[in-house]
Symmetry: C2
Subunit: 172 residues, 2 copies
DNA sequence: GATAATTGTTATCGAGTATATCAAATATCG
DNA sequence: CGATATTTGATATACTCGATAACAATTATC
Protein backbone atom coordinates (compact mmCIF):
# COMPACT_ATOMS: atom_id res chain seq x y z
CA UNK A 1 0.00 0.00 0.00
CA UNK A 2 1.77 3.05 -1.18
CA UNK A 3 1.22 5.70 1.32
CA UNK A 4 1.64 9.29 0.45
CA UNK A 5 5.10 10.52 -0.19
CA UNK A 6 5.27 14.17 0.35
CA UNK A 7 3.10 17.00 -0.59
CA UNK A 8 5.69 19.67 -0.28
CA UNK A 9 3.15 21.97 1.25
CA UNK A 10 0.33 20.09 2.75
CA UNK A 11 -2.90 21.95 2.98
CA UNK A 12 -3.09 23.77 6.20
CA UNK A 13 -5.84 26.18 5.43
CA UNK A 14 -9.40 25.21 4.82
CA UNK A 15 -8.96 25.85 1.15
CA UNK A 16 -8.88 22.65 -0.72
CA UNK A 17 -9.57 21.98 -4.30
CA UNK A 18 -12.54 20.06 -5.28
CA UNK A 19 -12.68 17.40 -7.85
CA UNK A 20 -15.62 16.39 -9.92
CA UNK A 21 -16.40 12.78 -10.64
CA UNK A 22 -14.32 11.68 -13.54
CA UNK A 23 -11.33 13.66 -12.58
CA UNK A 24 -7.92 12.17 -12.98
CA UNK A 25 -6.95 10.16 -9.97
CA UNK A 26 -4.08 12.32 -8.95
CA UNK A 27 -3.50 10.82 -5.59
CA UNK A 28 -0.93 11.89 -3.09
CA UNK A 29 -1.79 15.47 -2.52
CA UNK A 30 -5.42 16.20 -2.94
CA UNK A 31 -8.26 14.38 -1.31
CA UNK A 32 -11.53 13.61 -2.96
CA UNK A 33 -14.40 15.62 -1.64
CA UNK A 34 -16.85 13.21 -3.21
CA UNK A 35 -20.49 13.79 -2.31
CA UNK A 36 -19.33 16.62 -0.08
CA UNK A 37 -19.13 18.99 -3.01
CA UNK A 38 -22.80 18.35 -3.71
CA UNK A 39 -23.86 19.04 -0.15
CA UNK A 40 -25.38 22.49 -0.13
CA UNK A 41 -24.79 23.03 3.57
CA UNK A 42 -21.10 22.28 3.21
CA UNK A 43 -20.47 24.84 0.48
CA UNK A 44 -22.79 27.22 2.29
CA UNK A 45 -20.69 27.12 5.42
CA UNK A 46 -17.42 27.39 3.54
CA UNK A 47 -18.70 30.30 1.48
CA UNK A 48 -20.00 32.07 4.58
CA UNK A 49 -16.60 31.85 6.24
CA UNK A 50 -14.88 33.25 3.19
CA UNK A 51 -17.35 36.09 2.82
CA UNK A 52 -17.11 37.05 6.50
CA UNK A 53 -13.35 36.92 6.22
CA UNK A 54 -13.47 39.36 3.33
CA UNK A 55 -15.90 41.57 5.20
CA UNK A 56 -13.55 41.81 8.15
CA UNK A 57 -10.65 42.64 5.87
CA UNK A 58 -12.55 45.34 4.01
CA UNK A 59 -13.92 47.02 7.10
CA UNK A 60 -10.81 46.46 9.23
CA UNK A 61 -9.97 50.19 9.40
CA UNK A 62 -13.16 50.71 11.38
CA UNK A 63 -12.77 47.63 13.58
CA UNK A 64 -16.29 46.41 13.03
CA UNK A 65 -17.46 42.81 12.94
CA UNK A 66 -20.34 41.78 10.72
CA UNK A 67 -22.56 41.49 13.79
CA UNK A 68 -21.61 44.95 15.03
CA UNK A 69 -22.20 46.42 11.61
CA UNK A 70 -25.64 44.83 11.50
CA UNK A 71 -26.50 46.35 14.86
CA UNK A 72 -25.48 49.84 13.75
CA UNK A 73 -27.45 49.45 10.54
CA UNK A 74 -30.52 48.34 12.42
CA UNK A 75 -30.29 51.13 14.99
CA UNK A 76 -30.03 53.69 12.22
CA UNK A 77 -33.03 52.29 10.39
CA UNK A 78 -35.16 51.74 13.50
CA UNK A 79 -34.88 54.57 15.99
CA UNK A 80 -36.63 54.35 19.32
CA UNK A 81 -36.30 50.59 19.76
CA UNK A 82 -35.11 48.81 22.87
CA UNK A 83 -32.59 46.02 23.34
CA UNK A 84 -35.09 43.19 23.13
CA UNK A 85 -36.44 44.37 19.82
CA UNK A 86 -33.08 44.96 18.17
CA UNK A 87 -31.58 41.74 19.47
CA UNK A 88 -34.49 39.55 18.50
CA UNK A 89 -34.69 40.76 14.92
CA UNK A 90 -31.00 39.99 14.54
CA UNK A 91 -31.41 36.54 16.04
CA UNK A 92 -29.32 37.50 19.06
CA UNK A 93 -30.46 36.34 22.47
CA UNK A 94 -30.99 39.12 24.96
CA UNK A 95 -28.35 37.95 27.42
CA UNK A 96 -25.74 37.84 24.68
CA UNK A 97 -26.72 41.23 23.38
CA UNK A 98 -25.71 42.96 26.60
CA UNK A 99 -21.97 42.53 26.18
CA UNK A 100 -22.27 43.42 22.54
CA UNK A 101 -23.94 46.69 23.37
CA UNK A 102 -21.40 47.34 26.12
CA UNK A 103 -18.65 47.13 23.53
CA UNK A 104 -20.38 49.50 21.13
CA UNK A 105 -21.31 51.91 23.90
CA UNK A 106 -17.77 51.92 25.31
CA UNK A 107 -16.60 53.04 21.90
CA UNK A 108 -19.23 55.76 21.90
CA UNK A 109 -20.96 54.36 18.84
CA UNK A 110 -24.35 54.05 20.47
CA UNK A 111 -26.03 54.80 23.78
CA UNK A 112 -28.76 53.39 26.01
CA UNK A 113 -31.40 55.86 27.08
CA UNK A 114 -33.97 55.08 29.70
CA UNK A 115 -37.43 55.16 28.26
CA UNK A 116 -39.95 57.54 29.77
CA UNK A 117 -42.95 55.30 29.15
CA UNK A 118 -41.36 52.11 30.38
CA UNK A 119 -38.52 52.55 32.79
CA UNK A 120 -37.47 48.96 32.38
CA UNK A 121 -36.36 49.30 28.80
CA UNK A 122 -33.45 51.04 27.19
CA UNK A 123 -34.03 53.00 24.02
CA UNK A 124 -31.05 52.53 21.76
CA UNK A 125 -29.66 55.43 19.78
CA UNK A 126 -26.71 55.96 17.51
CA UNK A 127 -24.32 58.64 18.67
CA UNK A 128 -22.87 61.24 16.35
CA UNK A 129 -19.74 59.17 16.11
CA UNK A 130 -21.82 56.07 15.56
CA UNK A 131 -23.52 57.64 12.56
CA UNK A 132 -20.18 58.76 11.16
CA UNK A 133 -18.62 55.34 11.58
CA UNK A 134 -21.67 53.69 10.07
CA UNK A 135 -21.49 55.97 7.05
CA UNK A 136 -17.85 55.14 6.49
CA UNK A 137 -18.51 51.44 7.04
CA UNK A 138 -21.32 51.47 4.50
CA UNK A 139 -18.95 52.90 1.91
CA UNK A 140 -16.26 50.34 2.63
CA UNK A 141 -18.75 47.51 2.47
CA UNK A 142 -20.29 48.72 -0.77
CA UNK A 143 -17.10 49.73 -2.58
CA UNK A 144 -14.76 47.03 -1.41
CA UNK A 145 -16.66 44.06 -0.04
CA UNK A 146 -19.84 43.84 -2.06
CA UNK A 147 -18.06 45.18 -5.11
CA UNK A 148 -15.69 42.25 -5.00
CA UNK A 149 -18.53 39.79 -4.59
CA UNK A 150 -20.35 41.26 -7.57
CA UNK A 151 -17.17 41.15 -9.60
CA UNK A 152 -16.57 37.49 -8.81
CA UNK A 153 -20.13 36.35 -9.34
CA UNK A 154 -21.36 38.78 -11.92
CA UNK A 155 -24.19 41.21 -11.17
CA UNK A 156 -27.00 38.95 -12.32
CA UNK A 157 -25.69 35.96 -10.43
CA UNK A 158 -25.12 38.07 -7.37
CA UNK A 159 -28.74 39.16 -7.39
CA UNK A 160 -29.96 35.63 -7.98
CA UNK A 161 -27.78 34.34 -5.16
CA UNK A 162 -29.12 36.95 -2.80
CA UNK A 163 -32.68 36.02 -3.66
CA UNK A 164 -32.11 32.33 -3.11
CA UNK A 165 -30.31 32.86 0.18
CA UNK A 166 -33.16 35.07 1.36
CA UNK A 167 -35.59 32.33 0.48
CA UNK A 168 -33.59 29.83 2.51
CA UNK A 169 -33.06 32.23 5.37
CA UNK A 170 -36.58 33.47 5.75
CA UNK A 171 -38.91 30.93 4.14
CA UNK A 172 -37.22 27.65 4.82
CA UNK B 1 -53.04 42.67 9.68
CA UNK B 2 -50.96 45.44 10.91
CA UNK B 3 -48.13 46.52 8.78
CA UNK B 4 -47.24 45.67 5.26
CA UNK B 5 -43.84 46.79 4.32
CA UNK B 6 -42.67 48.05 1.04
CA UNK B 7 -40.14 45.77 -0.46
CA UNK B 8 -40.36 42.14 -1.32
CA UNK B 9 -38.07 41.21 1.50
CA UNK B 10 -40.42 40.16 4.19
CA UNK B 11 -38.47 39.61 7.32
CA UNK B 12 -39.17 36.71 9.53
CA UNK B 13 -37.09 37.19 12.58
CA UNK B 14 -35.61 33.99 13.87
CA UNK B 15 -36.36 34.10 17.52
CA UNK B 16 -38.78 36.85 18.10
CA UNK B 17 -41.79 37.29 20.23
CA UNK B 18 -44.40 34.69 19.86
CA UNK B 19 -46.70 35.58 17.05
CA UNK B 20 -49.63 33.28 16.65
CA UNK B 21 -50.61 32.68 13.07
CA UNK B 22 -54.04 34.17 13.58
CA UNK B 23 -53.08 36.83 16.07
CA UNK B 24 -53.04 40.12 14.30
CA UNK B 25 -53.32 42.84 16.85
CA UNK B 26 -49.64 42.75 17.68
CA UNK B 27 -48.97 46.44 17.69
CA UNK B 28 -45.25 45.86 17.75
CA UNK B 29 -44.37 46.42 14.14
CA UNK B 30 -41.72 44.52 12.36
CA UNK B 31 -38.35 46.18 12.23
CA UNK B 32 -36.81 47.33 9.01
CA UNK B 33 -33.84 45.32 7.90
CA UNK B 34 -32.84 48.06 5.51
CA UNK B 35 -29.52 47.56 3.78
CA UNK B 36 -29.13 44.39 5.80
CA UNK B 37 -31.27 42.45 3.35
CA UNK B 38 -28.87 43.42 0.58
CA UNK B 39 -25.82 42.25 2.47
CA UNK B 40 -24.81 38.92 1.02
CA UNK B 41 -22.95 37.84 4.12
CA UNK B 42 -25.97 38.42 6.30
CA UNK B 43 -28.32 36.24 4.26
CA UNK B 44 -25.51 33.76 3.81
CA UNK B 45 -25.12 33.30 7.53
CA UNK B 46 -28.83 33.13 8.13
CA UNK B 47 -29.32 30.62 5.35
CA UNK B 48 -26.46 28.50 6.61
CA UNK B 49 -27.98 28.29 10.06
CA UNK B 50 -31.33 27.25 8.66
CA UNK B 51 -29.80 24.62 6.39
CA UNK B 52 -27.72 23.13 9.18
CA UNK B 53 -30.78 23.10 11.39
CA UNK B 54 -32.66 21.13 8.77
CA UNK B 55 -29.72 18.79 8.31
CA UNK B 56 -29.66 18.02 12.01
CA UNK B 57 -33.39 17.37 12.00
CA UNK B 58 -33.25 15.07 9.00
CA UNK B 59 -30.33 13.03 10.24
CA UNK B 60 -31.33 13.11 13.90
CA UNK B 61 -32.09 9.36 14.03
CA UNK B 62 -28.40 8.73 13.43
CA UNK B 63 -27.13 11.41 15.78
CA UNK B 64 -24.69 12.90 13.29
CA UNK B 65 -23.67 16.53 13.01
CA UNK B 66 -22.81 18.02 9.64
CA UNK B 67 -19.14 17.97 10.60
CA UNK B 68 -19.27 14.31 11.63
CA UNK B 69 -21.08 13.39 8.44
CA UNK B 70 -18.42 15.16 6.40
CA UNK B 71 -15.71 13.21 8.17
CA UNK B 72 -17.39 9.88 7.49
CA UNK B 73 -17.91 10.83 3.85
CA UNK B 74 -14.28 11.79 3.48
CA UNK B 75 -13.00 8.64 5.17
CA UNK B 76 -15.10 6.52 2.86
CA UNK B 77 -13.90 8.33 -0.22
CA UNK B 78 -10.26 8.53 0.85
CA UNK B 79 -9.05 5.34 2.49
CA UNK B 80 -5.58 5.14 3.92
CA UNK B 81 -5.34 8.78 5.00
CA UNK B 82 -4.17 10.01 8.34
CA UNK B 83 -5.62 12.56 10.74
CA UNK B 84 -3.68 15.52 9.40
CA UNK B 85 -4.83 14.92 5.86
CA UNK B 86 -8.49 14.41 6.69
CA UNK B 87 -8.62 17.32 9.11
CA UNK B 88 -6.89 19.80 6.84
CA UNK B 89 -9.09 19.16 3.83
CA UNK B 90 -12.10 19.78 6.02
CA UNK B 91 -10.64 22.98 7.43
CA UNK B 92 -10.37 21.47 10.87
CA UNK B 93 -7.25 22.15 12.90
CA UNK B 94 -5.42 19.06 14.04
CA UNK B 95 -5.81 19.73 17.76
CA UNK B 96 -9.55 20.10 17.36
CA UNK B 97 -9.81 17.00 15.24
CA UNK B 98 -8.61 14.75 18.06
CA UNK B 99 -11.72 15.06 20.19
CA UNK B 100 -13.88 14.76 17.11
CA UNK B 101 -12.26 11.47 16.19
CA UNK B 102 -12.47 10.29 19.79
CA UNK B 103 -16.23 10.75 19.63
CA UNK B 104 -16.57 8.85 16.36
CA UNK B 105 -14.23 6.11 17.51
CA UNK B 106 -16.03 5.71 20.84
CA UNK B 107 -19.17 5.05 18.83
CA UNK B 108 -17.30 2.48 16.76
CA UNK B 109 -17.86 4.41 13.54
CA UNK B 110 -14.20 4.65 12.65
CA UNK B 111 -10.85 3.50 13.98
CA UNK B 112 -7.26 4.68 14.12
CA UNK B 113 -4.70 2.22 12.88
CA UNK B 114 -1.00 2.77 13.33
CA UNK B 115 0.71 3.02 10.00
CA UNK B 116 3.47 0.55 9.25
CA UNK B 117 5.48 2.96 7.15
CA UNK B 118 5.23 5.90 9.51
CA UNK B 119 4.58 4.96 13.06
CA UNK B 120 3.73 8.52 13.99
CA UNK B 121 0.56 8.66 11.97
CA UNK B 122 -2.81 7.05 12.36
CA UNK B 123 -4.47 5.64 9.29
CA UNK B 124 -8.17 6.29 9.58
CA UNK B 125 -10.65 3.66 8.54
CA UNK B 126 -14.40 3.33 8.66
CA UNK B 127 -15.64 0.39 10.65
CA UNK B 128 -18.36 -1.90 9.47
CA UNK B 129 -20.81 0.03 11.57
CA UNK B 130 -19.40 3.27 10.27
CA UNK B 131 -20.09 2.24 6.70
CA UNK B 132 -23.59 1.17 7.61
CA UNK B 133 -24.34 4.41 9.42
CA UNK B 134 -22.88 6.42 6.57
CA UNK B 135 -25.06 4.59 4.07
CA UNK B 136 -28.17 5.32 6.11
CA UNK B 137 -27.10 8.91 6.61
CA UNK B 138 -26.57 9.40 2.90
CA UNK B 139 -30.10 8.23 2.25
CA UNK B 140 -31.57 10.53 4.88
CA UNK B 141 -29.59 13.47 3.58
CA UNK B 142 -30.54 12.83 -0.03
CA UNK B 143 -34.18 11.91 0.47
CA UNK B 144 -35.11 14.31 3.25
CA UNK B 145 -32.61 17.15 3.51
CA UNK B 146 -31.44 17.81 -0.03
CA UNK B 147 -34.82 16.84 -1.39
CA UNK B 148 -36.41 19.59 0.64
CA UNK B 149 -33.84 22.11 -0.52
CA UNK B 150 -34.43 21.18 -4.14
CA UNK B 151 -38.16 21.41 -3.62
CA UNK B 152 -37.91 24.89 -2.11
CA UNK B 153 -35.46 26.28 -4.63
CA UNK B 154 -36.29 24.29 -7.71
CA UNK B 155 -33.77 21.93 -9.28
CA UNK B 156 -32.21 24.49 -11.62
CA UNK B 157 -31.85 27.11 -8.92
CA UNK B 158 -30.46 24.54 -6.54
CA UNK B 159 -27.74 23.66 -9.02
CA UNK B 160 -26.99 27.31 -9.73
CA UNK B 161 -26.80 28.06 -6.02
CA UNK B 162 -24.41 25.20 -5.47
CA UNK B 163 -22.19 26.45 -8.24
CA UNK B 164 -22.08 29.99 -6.93
CA UNK B 165 -21.38 28.86 -3.39
CA UNK B 166 -18.57 26.67 -4.64
CA UNK B 167 -17.12 29.64 -6.45
CA UNK B 168 -17.20 31.69 -3.27
CA UNK B 169 -15.93 28.86 -1.12
CA UNK B 170 -13.03 27.75 -3.26
CA UNK B 171 -12.13 30.61 -5.60
CA UNK B 172 -12.79 33.67 -3.53
C1' DG C 1 -53.51 44.93 45.95
C1' DA C 2 -51.68 40.29 44.92
C1' DT C 3 -49.86 37.95 41.14
C1' DA C 4 -47.94 37.39 36.60
C1' DA C 5 -45.15 39.06 32.85
C1' DT C 6 -41.42 41.85 30.82
C1' DT C 7 -36.71 44.16 30.58
C1' DG C 8 -32.04 44.28 31.24
C1' DT C 9 -28.60 41.81 33.47
C1' DT C 10 -25.43 38.24 35.54
C1' DA C 11 -23.68 33.74 35.76
C1' DT C 12 -22.74 29.68 33.54
C1' DC C 13 -22.41 26.04 30.24
C1' DG C 14 -21.30 23.90 25.78
C1' DA C 15 -19.64 24.07 21.05
C1' DG C 16 -16.38 25.83 17.78
C1' DT C 17 -12.01 27.79 16.74
C1' DA C 18 -7.28 29.38 17.67
C1' DT C 19 -2.31 28.99 19.49
C1' DA C 20 1.61 27.06 22.03
C1' DT C 21 3.76 23.11 23.40
C1' DC C 22 5.13 18.22 24.02
C1' DA C 23 6.88 13.30 23.10
C1' DA C 24 7.58 10.14 19.69
C1' DA C 25 8.86 9.14 15.16
C1' DT C 26 10.87 10.47 10.98
C1' DA C 27 13.51 13.36 7.76
C1' DT C 28 17.47 16.14 6.63
C1' DC C 29 22.07 17.23 6.31
C1' DG C 30 26.84 18.02 7.83
C1' DC D 1 27.14 8.06 11.34
C1' DG D 2 24.95 11.58 14.35
C1' DA D 3 23.10 16.25 15.42
C1' DT D 4 19.33 18.90 14.19
C1' DA D 5 14.97 19.94 12.21
C1' DT D 6 10.39 18.51 10.89
C1' DT D 7 6.15 15.96 11.22
C1' DT D 8 2.28 13.60 13.77
C1' DG D 9 -0.91 13.08 17.23
C1' DA D 10 -2.03 14.90 21.47
C1' DT D 11 -2.80 18.12 25.60
C1' DA D 12 -3.69 22.40 27.59
C1' DT D 13 -5.59 26.63 27.11
C1' DA D 14 -8.12 30.68 25.56
C1' DC D 15 -11.51 33.24 23.20
C1' DT D 16 -15.70 33.86 20.69
C1' DC D 17 -20.76 32.46 20.19
C1' DG D 18 -24.89 30.54 21.39
C1' DA D 19 -28.09 28.86 24.94
C1' DT D 20 -30.40 28.45 29.67
C1' DA D 21 -31.49 29.72 34.44
C1' DA D 22 -32.14 33.10 37.59
C1' DC D 23 -32.59 37.85 39.61
C1' DA D 24 -34.08 42.93 40.62
C1' DA D 25 -36.71 46.45 38.92
C1' DT D 26 -40.63 47.68 36.58
C1' DT D 27 -45.03 47.15 34.41
C1' DA D 28 -49.31 44.54 33.24
C1' DT D 29 -53.23 41.78 34.66
C1' DC D 30 -56.84 40.07 37.38
Amino acid sequence: MTVSKTASDAVKSPRTLRREPGDPAGDDAMLQLGELSGLLGYSLKRAQLKVFEDFLRCVAPLQLTPAQFSVLLLLDKNPGRNQTEIASTLGILRPNFVAMLDALESRDLCARMRSANDRRSHILVLTEKGRAVLARAKKLVANKHEARLIEVLGPANHAALLEMLAKLAYEF
